[in-house]
């Protein structure tokens, strides 16, 4: 029997990112319109494994997923031991644009979840013309802190265990166990302080409430998909963004904060009609 490889190619990309040399891990599958996917805080590109393996998506889209620096198989930059990782909206926007340019993508569709679902609002605000369409998963303009993030990075608490513990309830109770625990594994494996560093963007730096009304979700189509069980980016938060930008929003039943990872088939059922619309636009 021949080896059962998935139709995904994983490679390391060497590039200058945010003015420093980086070695980034990038996976892709499919052909057609580039679909650049952004993972959640403290996780990595494995969250999109369902999409990368679904021919209904990859027949028409080239799905590309990179691990952000510090995440997954992408290393932190040289000298990381002497700095504290803190993601900012400025760096995150630059990262996406620089990676898209390094990959020579021509007007990709960008889709991000959670922090990725937030940063796509910045892209919609400042760089909409560079994208064919923008998809926000679990998007809200702002999320106020509701626990002390210092618990996520300290010597006397296991960072991976507490990170998984914090996010476990964001997975819908109806998610299949295999996908629930795969999703949590990515958090269990996360590097020390990385989830906390991402949350600096999510809860402090990345508050885009004052710019939402300046986004036109029709010129470059903006689609929003949010799981009903997400109490971090709530349905209300998403619907408010939709109302103010003209984006098309859908609240997904039986899904939480990690739709593409916690129940890929259910999520793809919601995504396909949007991909179809984008393709036919």
């Amino acid at each position: 029997m021949s080896p059962r490889f998935e139709p995904i190619t994983g490679r390391y990309l060497n590039m200058t990112l945010l003015d420093r040399p980086h070695r980034l891990y990038v996976e892709e599958a499919g052909r057609g319109i580039p679909l650049l996917c952004l993972h959640t805080a403290g996780s990595d590109g494995r969250q999109y494994r369902g999409l990368l393996n679904d021919r209904r998506v990859t027949d028409n889209y080239r799905v590309i997923v990179f691990d952000m620096p510090w995440h997954g198989k992408s290393s932190p930059p040289e000298g990381y031991q002497n700095e504290e990782y803190k993601l900012t909206s400025r760096d995150y926007v630059r990262m996406i644009l620089e990676i898209s340019a390094a990959l020579e993508l021509d007007k990709p569709v960008v889709m991000g979840c959670s922090i990725g679902g937030r940063i796509v609002l910045y892209l919609a605000h400042q760089h909409a013309k560079q994208f064919r369409a923008i998809i926000g998963l679990e998007t809200a303009a702002h999320v106020a802190p509701y626990y002390d993030v210092n618990w996520l990075h300290r010597g006397d608490v296991h960072g991976g265990e507490v990170s998984a513990g914090v996010v476990s309830g964001l997975v819908a109770p109806t998610a299949p166990d295999n996908h629930r625990w795969e999703t949590l594994w990515h958090y269990l494996q996360s590097g020390p302080g990385v989830f906390k560093g991402d949350l600096h963007f999510y809860k402090v730096d990345g508050d885009i409430r004052d710019k939402i009304d300046q986004i036109d979700g029709r010129t470059t189509p903006l689609y929003l998909l949010t799981g009903e069980y997400d109490y971090s980016c709530t349905s209300e938060g998403t619907l408010d963004v939709a109302k103010r930008t003209g984006a098309q929003a859908t609240i997904m039943k039986g899904l939480g904060h990690f739709p593409m990872s916690e129940d890929p088939p259910k999520f793809i059922g919601y995504l396909l009609p949007m991909l179809e619309k984008i393709r036919n636009a």
Binding site: W151, V162, S168, G169, A172, Y231, S232, G254
Partner: protein
């Protein structure tokens, strides 16, 4: 809980709480996950307090109040109806996790949070243990529910 008196629901809630030790202690994997935790915490369901004593991941007692000088590491306090919603077999959005309850301002946690945060996955499963025996699906049941 249409057709059920408040007294009846209390009887049921108390029975669920009293059954937590058996549900936790019979779950080998859960006990293994909590094996480095020995502590006592206070769980308040409305005005009714319970001291939950854990030794090496096993629940050795759940003692109802009132208490004289109770001694515990951390306390979790929420109204009774919030706990009842939380303990549904398939809870509604907003009721499925204690962090969802925090965020909505319905659950207060205070005290020494170290044992709580350091054993968060374990504690969450201990608190959710009554769901294992709960009956009924969501009113707008989601297809494909599987736990």
């Amino acid at each position: 809980m249409a057709g059920t008196s408040p007294a009846m629901t209390w009887v049921r809630t108390k029975a669920m709480i009293e059954h937590i030790p058996e549900l936790v202690n019979s779950d080998e994997n859960l006990v293994r996950r909590g094996r480095f935790l020995s502590t006592t915490f206070l769980m308040e369901i409305g005005d009714q307090g319970y001291l939950v004593k854990i030794i090496e991941g096993r629940i050795v007692s759940i003692t109802p109040g009132p208490f004289v000088t109770p001694n515990y590491s951390f306390a979790l306090r929420a109204p009774k109806d919030e706990w009842e919603m939380f303990w549904k077999k398939v809870p509604e959005p907003g009721h499925n996790d204690i962090f969802a309850l925090f965020k909505r301002g319905k659950l207060v946690i205070e005290g020494d949070l170290h044992p709580f945060m350091a054993n968060l996955l374990y504690i969450k499963d201990v608190l959710a243990a009554p769901r294992k025996e709960a009956k009924g699906e969501r009113s707008d049941a989601v297809n494909g529910a599987k736990r």
